[in-house]
Amino acid sequence: MSVLTTPMDDTRAVTAVPTPRPLRLVRHSLALARRSLIKTRRTPEALIDVTIQPIIFLTLFVYIFGGAVAGSTHQYLQFLLPGILAQMIGTGAVAIGVNLNTDIEKGVFDRFRSLPIPRSAPLLGVVLADFVRYALVIVMTLGCGFVMGFRIETGPLQALFGCVVTVAFAMSLSWVSVYIGMIARSSGAVQGIMFLIVLPLSFGSNVFVQTTTMPGWLQAFVRVNPLTQLVGTTRGLFLGGPVARPLLWTVLWMVGLVSVFMPLALRAYRRRA
């Protein structure tokens, strides 16, 4: 067999790699996720909300309220840690919207929009990159908890599954922030709106105290709150207890958040001139 070697000028072959569309979407999204990660590495202080903040919240709440709320700081730590994890997921979701809004203001996304890539790739990319931040939240919260005396009362598999559910929920919640980042007029506004959403969700929940101690009208809100369901799931998976019901609600919330806010965010992105 004779091989005809032609000098392949790689750089000329710009559109010469025809690949199926879904694969292109994955590849482009990953390339854009890499961009976000490079930015994060250049500005490590942008990770304070997922590194230092969990430590501060966990230690403050455990040592200030532990004795009063649960009788001992250790018992409160066991109860509180899955809750703080969920709260940090909530506050951690603010950054993605703020960053996106800034990027769009600066015109970086104009370039992406003029390229022959799927329109959803830039948004998928930033959400994918957020995985690293949420993984960090889990590592920092659990790490700090262990140092303070937190112990998993189930098994490593359940605990790992709890972490997976947490990250999956976080990435679903990210789409809310992405949507707000698309429609708000400034990055400051994104921050304000997101805190307006995250604060009631994280405090109006079972994060800090048992739901049964609250007045009835508040319980109604707490029970439908997605963070309550997430905390119920992780408490069950970390400490034992019923998991099926809160897990079902958590998954339903995840499906709901993604199927509502992802299309909304993509539409807002397409419209934003």
Partner: protein, 322 residues
Amino acid sequence: MTNAIEAHGLVKRFGSTTALDGVSLAARSGTVLGVLGPNGAGKTTAVRILATLIRPEAGSARVGGHDVLRHPERVRELIGLTGQYASVDEDLSGTQNLVLIGQLLDLRRPAARARAKELLEWFDLTDAADRPAKTYSGGMRRRLDLAASLVGRPQVVFLDEPTTGLDPAKREDMWGVIRRLVADGSTVLLTTQYLEEADALADEITVIDHGKVIAHDTPDGLKRIVGSQTLRVRPADPSRTDDVARLLVAVTGATPELQAQGAVTVPVDGDAVLGQVVPRLAAVGITVTELSLQLPSLDEVFFALTGRRETIAPVLSKESVA
């Protein structure tokens, strides 16, 4: 010769303001179309429609033979866009910026790196290749931005005010780059506020004002309308301004304009007039602090085209002081 860019009757409104009010333009393949106009004339809006970033309310446009509304994805495969504000990613290095674009254009990683290196060399950014773009000077960012739009060797390049804010030397560099692009076969649509820039680069010029095309011509044709050059004389003694004006009428036959600081300007056809003006000024004992020939400013172009006098753009002049 076919048109690489063609637009008919583009209309775009933002709320109650009409940014484009029926703009039509065309650029032949392998040429430079200059789109000249003041801030807010609608230049950027037109570019954004042609680059598939926004959709017009009315009108149609084709780029490289593809309809920008019906087949934007085809158009995106052909174009490069350099925005008015350098849209490079500040946290990424020069190399990372260009490699990212290469990967998004489906280059394999080694190919993307090779293309990035080649472009960084071409744009004289090799030394800064690994520094974050936020440490770059304004001129370097512009160059990186332009490089980013050229990664995919686009057939059609949109340059939205590529030299606004650059110092004259950097501007000349940018012009060299644009000329090379055209020599390589690209079609360029260049927006600018400077007649001089359009004159230096464009094969044809479309003048836009308030969202409407008010003139379309070759640079020479346009200069015939507005006068090819302007003679500017400023007497050392401001009280002699009227004498200077009278003298210029006598020499050129055109009506002089009084400018700030006692200067007088008058349109002229060539530099021969200098040889008459200088001895006459000397003969009547007028000393001057400024005597120069310059291309008409955008203000003067608009005055000639619309009869309206308004200050709209900074004057860019390569002054040849006699």
